[in-house]
Amino acid sequence: MRALLRVLAPLLGLALAAAGVLVVIEVVAAWVLPDTEGLLVPWRPWSVTLANLSWNENPVPGIAIGVGVAGLLLIIVGLAARRGDVRLEAPTTAMTVTTSPRVLARLVGTRVRASDDVLSASVSASARRVAVAVLAWHDAPPDLREVIVGGVKELLDALPLRRRPRVAVSVRKQEGVR
């Protein structure tokens, strides 16, 4: 999302600048050379069309909905382009320590997959929640889920995280022979 923001922001800035420049050029051209067609923008035929079109005719609603949707998309990108950093405790106030949810997921995944009873595991992590979906061998002990939850919590406690994420583990058993 932040990459999209990096691209959209300068494009919007350019569009605004271009609009401003166009307005200046057209107004000056119309002032200096009256009775001529627009220099870059055919504003005379446009103004005729606009004068003959009323708000309750097509294609006004279509365009309006399009504009509204574009605005909504911009709002969504603007609000969603946040960093999802996971904050950690620092030994001094002059330091701020962060890591990415990806790193947290890596650490948890490595720990979970180290168990012999685990066939595969997929982890999704954020600062607030760590969710692990485990596929276990069919002969895995029944308390595997509790063991994994305990292990993940132990790992998270060893990290100086600002806020301890909630841990959710789900275990599915694989049919068949190992």
């Binding site: 504009v67 030994p91 890596r106």
Partner: protein
């Protein structure tokens, strides 16, 4: 008793910035701020959304069917402009210039790369000392990489010349004790750079990564 004459010209060291200010500077050093871009996007989005919703409501006659029947280029507007064309032309030109300037400023700020400030030290009268940002950053990164359980380290100066800060990325080994590494980073690396540059404090933003373990080489 010997007197250190070399220090006689030096001014008193600058007071240590407050803890709150240090914390704020280290927080903003974590990554390049995108707040301005984000809020401008939201603002433009709100304007577009408002226009879209307003016109759609108008179409459906919420504001009255007589209003909806008026043309887009309302005769009222045409008459208003025709009564004093010069005034409206000037307004349009001024507005266009302002819009163009704002747009260009926004593009320039968005596209400009994050500055890497040098550190300026007080060398006394007629002496200026400037430590290049690359030199300071490389020194920090080299020392950080020597810490135990740190596989790789990268550092760069961020902020401004008046308020510099460090951004350090550490790649830790799988078995690292994070608390201990951070402690040593503060006691050794940060302390060393502060004493070398004669700074009472230098805010630092640390990003932690995990180093991918290299597969063991196969021996034929």
């Amino acid at each position: 008793m010997s007197v250190d004459l070399t220090k006689s010209h030096q001014t008193l060291p600058a007071p240590r910035p407050t803890d709150a200010r240090l914390r704020r500077r280290s927080r903003s050093a974590v990554a390049r701020s995108a707040t301005g871009d984000r809020w401008l996007l939201v603002l433009i989005g709100l304007v577009l959304l408002a226009v879209g919703v307003g016109v759609t409501l108008l179409y459906y006659g919420v504001f009255g069917s007589s209003r909806a029947a008026r043309p887009l280029l309302d005769p009222i507007i045409v008459v208003t402009v025709a009564t004093d064309p010069v005034l409206w032309r000037v307004i349009a030109i001024a507005g266009g210039i302002v819009l163009a300037l704002l747009g260009l400023i926004w593009v320039a700020r968005s596209v400009r790369p994050e500055p890497r400030p040098d550190i300026v030290l007080d060398g006394g009268p007629n002496t200026t000392i400037r430590v290049s940002s690359g030199a300071a950053a490389e020194a920090v990164a080299t020392q950080a990489a020597t810490l135990p359980n740190v596989a790789r380290a990268r550092a760069r100066m961020v902020g401004s010349t008046a308020a510099p800060a460090l951004r350090v990325t550490l790649w830790l080994t799988d078995d690292a004790d994070v608390r201990a590494v951070l402690h040593r980073l503060d006691e050794e690396v940060l302390a060393t750079v502060c004493s070398a540059l004669d700074l009472s404090a230098l805010p630092m933003a640390v990003r932690l990564e995990v180093e991918r373990p290299h597969p063991a080489p196969r021996v034929a």
